[in-house]
């Protein structure tokens, strides 16, 4: 609430700066706007910019770090015995304090120390927020009025404003890079900690996965096992089933739509198939677990087969349905990029349509189609909701599609949802899996995008 109020005041001040900046510029040349270097509104923007932006930056920077600074100060004032707790225990205490501050449910009884800490937290927060408000407003007013005094007729206000806009544009475009870096660092950082506890080789080549570590060291199965091979096999099995469904159907529909269908048929059917791509994956997950999986289990039962209720087949089939439009629209693009002259060449030799497609168009489009399929594989590997809802949790090392298998993404979700202590190998394992997932899909994407780009350049 306070923050929003502050933002409101800041906006008002910027508007005022704009107004005064513009007026001052006009005043400086005695109303003869022709004598100004830039249009008057640029002087207004110039003043508004200097008024608003530095203050806003300070404000955002502060909001980003406020919580950690206050936490540090609060921890510093905690009783000796709590201050020396292990980091994760300390975190729990801190969480309790924050919950108490926010009026949420607290995990343990509220004692005086906790109450005192919470009071301290609130007090510090109030002081700091008040200081911040003052600082931000003073900065805005100072910078704004300083700029106003600098406005002169020959000043290049437009250039200054445009330079700033350019800087903003550059900052915006670097967010994409920052995102990638953020992903890399966040998964890498936690993974490194995981690999300190579990050797890389055990993780990559271990045949058993049971991340449930016991709380006390003397319990059974206390160590947990972090061999990810069953997850890889499960992921690949489900992706393979998905591709076996999606590639033939997607490719054949793309061929039909681009080579056989009338334009009218195409304009109706193509968007219909693409609806499949727009359906959220959670819907597919629900469809799979509620309709497809029971259907497969019952059918298997009739045939005398023992089908798990969370069979890899069900998850793979439904994932395949999801990927059909992906394959079909990518292939469609690629096939349409094959120059008409090649088709003409084949037809002129007396090839039938299917011969032209099979012997000329598909071979010519093959790199692009392979690129599309690689992208689809990357999507299948990274797909989460369908497998979370339709595949199993138990890490069975099997390639039998009728059995339940688990995947990398399923494990990430299971390890990270619900209550968790942040430093246990169990949660860190999720980040290691995430690193692997990111790495594999990144490689697939880079190769695929490169192949597709090269393919396009060939026919441009």
């Amino acid at each position: 609430m306070q923050a929003q109020f502050l933002m409101g005041v800041l906006t008002l001040m910027s508007v005022a700066a704009y107004y005064f900046g513009r007026r001052r510029a006009v005043f400086m040349v005695g109303g003869k706007i022709r004598d100004l270097h830039s249009l008057p509104s640029y002087y207004g923007f110039y003043a508004a910019m200097w008024c608003g932006i530095p203050a806003l930056l300070v404000f955002m920077l502060w909001m980003g770090f406020e919580s950690s600074i206050i936490s540090y100060l609060v921890v510093d004032a905690l009783p000796q015995d709590q201050r020396t707790l292990s980091p994760d225990r300390l975190n729990l205490v801190l969480n309790d304090i924050k919950n108490l501050v926010n009026g949420n449910i607290v995990s343990r009884e509220i004692d005086t120390a906790l109450r005192a800490a919470a009071d301290r937290y609130i007090r510090l927060q109030n002081i700091i927020r008040a200081a911040l408000s003052v600082a931000v407003l003073v900065l805005a007013a100072g910078a704004g009025s300083w700029t106003l005094t600098r406005i002169k007729a020959r000043q290049r206000a437009r250039n200054a404003v445009e330079r700033l806009i350019t800087i903003i544009l550059i900052v915006c475009s670097s967010i994409a890079i920052l995102t990638t870096l953020g992903i890399v660092f966040s998964v890498l950082f936690e993974s490194v900690r995981f690999f300190q506890a579990v050797p890389v080789a055990d993780f990559l080549f271990g045949m058993s996965w049971s991340p449930q570590t016991a709380i006390r060291a003397d319990q059974v199965g206390s160590s947990g096992a972090f061999g990810a091979v069953p997850l890889f096999v499960g992921t690949l099995l489900i992706s393979l089933i998905a591709m076996l469904v999606a590639v033939p159907i997607g490719l054949r529909s793309a061929i039909y739509l681009s080579e056989y269908a009338s334009p009218r048929f195409r304009t109706v059917v193509k968007p219909l198939i693409e609806i499949l791509a727009g359906i959220p994956t959670v819907v597919y997950g629900f469809f799979s677990s509620l309709t497809v999986a029971p259907f497969i289990r019952d059918t298997g039962g009739l045939l005398g087969l023992d089908v798990a209720s969370e069979s890899a087949l069900a998850a793979g089939l439904v994932m395949g349905i999801m990927i059909i439009p992906f394959i079909s629209s990518l292939s469609d693009d690629v096939i349409n990029a094959v120059p008409q002259s090649l088709r003409d060449g084949a037809y002129a030799l007396g090839a039938t349509r299917s011969e032209t497609v099979r012997r000329v168009i598909i071979p010519a489009a093959l790199p692009g189609i392979v690129g599309g399929i690689l992208l689809a594989v990357s999507r299948a590997i990274g797909e989460t909701m369908i497998v979370v809802m339709a595949a199993g949790l138990a890490a069975n090392l099997t390639v039998n599609p009728l059995k339940a298998v688990t995947t990398v993404t399923v494990q990430i979700v299971t390890l990270l949802t619900g209550d968790q202590e942040f430093d246990s190998p169990k949660t860190l394992a999720a980040f290691a899996l995430g690193l692997l997932l990111f790495g594999v899909t990144l490689i697939l994407n880079v190769i695929a995008l490169h192949v597709v780009r090269k393919y396009r350049e060939q026919y441009e």
Binding site: S262, P263, P339, S341, L342, R343, D344, G345, A346, Y347, A348, L349, G350, A351, T352, E355, R359, V360, P363, A364
Partner: protein
């Protein structure tokens, strides 16, 4: 120049050529609203076209073209761009079928059969009438695969050896063998422009067609490559009937025995090449060959 005034004043008709389609063929000359002057009919024609119209949607591309194409000759179609010469050429192997909005009317007779008729199969037709395009369009496959494509789809060879023979023969005929015999497995797209075009010719003759259509086969090539192709066309004439569309009058004069001049969708004049270039009957032809427009 009387003939311009009186278009029915056409040189002697070869009565010997009249076969079982005699009534249809007499149409070629007797139509009153025809604007074509010159010798539209020939003795023992390979292809006879009667009243051929091509429409793209509502728009006519060529109107009422009547023309006969003789065996073992090169006929050149000339005319300013957009005159319909390519559209006409594409009628002869029904390549216009591949353009959805395109409609062809009229009769095109080959061996006494109308190729636009019901019983005619485009696959068979195109096996008999090969085509070479303006831009060389080798398939993105090896040189060998390119030439073997036609024989393969038609099943013309039983064994790999037979196929090898066809490929070699076609490449020799196309004058490309010596240049590529050591790299038959390399992609056809890696050849130079002129070589690519000769590869396309080899690909077309590998099917052993009777007629070869060429749609401005040299327009994308340099002069040296052009000279080679022209030489090749002249040689191929002995075995094939060849129709060449060209925008270059010099080329038409060099390689063809007969020339047809198209203008704005009409076939204006047909005749011996020598006559067209020395004594054109129609003033439009004269204007065109003297470079007054084009």
């Amino acid at each position: 120049m009387d003939s311009i005034v009186n278009p029915t004043n056409i040189p002697a008709v070869h009565t010997t050529s009249i076969s079982d389609v005699v009534k249809d063929r007499s149409d070629v000359v007797s139509r009153e609203n025809r604007s074509t002057v010159g010798e539209t009919i020939v003795e023992d024609p390979r292809i006879s076209c009667l009243d051929v119209n091509v429409y793209y949607g509502e728009k006519p591309a060529i109107r009422q073209v009547g023309l006969e194409i003789a065996r073992n000759q090169v006929i050149a179609m000339i005319g300013p761009s957009g005159c319909g010469k390519s559209s006409f050429l594409r009628c002869l192997n029904r390549m216009n079928d591949t353009i959805p909005a395109c409609q062809v009317t009229g009769k095109i007779l080959m061996d006494g059969q109308d190729i636009n008729g019901k019983g005619i199969d485009t696959v068979l037709l195109r096996a008999e009438v090969g085509m070479v395009f303006q831009k060389p369009n080798p398939f993105p496959k090896s040189i060998w695969e390119n030439v073997a494509f036609g024989p393969r789809i038609h099943g013309l060879a039983q064994t790999k050896k037979e196929l090898d023979e066809i490929v070699e023969k076609s490449l020799i005929q196309a004058g490309l063998w010596d240049e590529v015999k050591d790299r038959l497995n390399q992609p056809g797209t890696g050849l130079s422009g002129g070589q690519q075009q000769r590869l396309c010719i080899a690909r077309a003759i590998a099917v052993n067609p009777e007629v070869i259509l060429m749609d401005e086969p040299c327009s994308a090539l340099d002069p040296i490559a052009t000279a080679k192709i022209e030489e090749l066309i002249d040689k191929l004439r002995l075995d094939y009937t060849i129709c060449v569309v060209t925008h270059s009058m010099q080329q038409a004069a060099r390689i063809s025995q007969r020339t047809a001049f198209f203008h704005l969708g009409d076939l204006i004049e047909v005749g011996e090449t020598k006559q067209i270039f020395t004594k054109p009957l129609h003033h439009l032809t004269e204007d065109y060959i003297t470079g007054r427009f084009g």
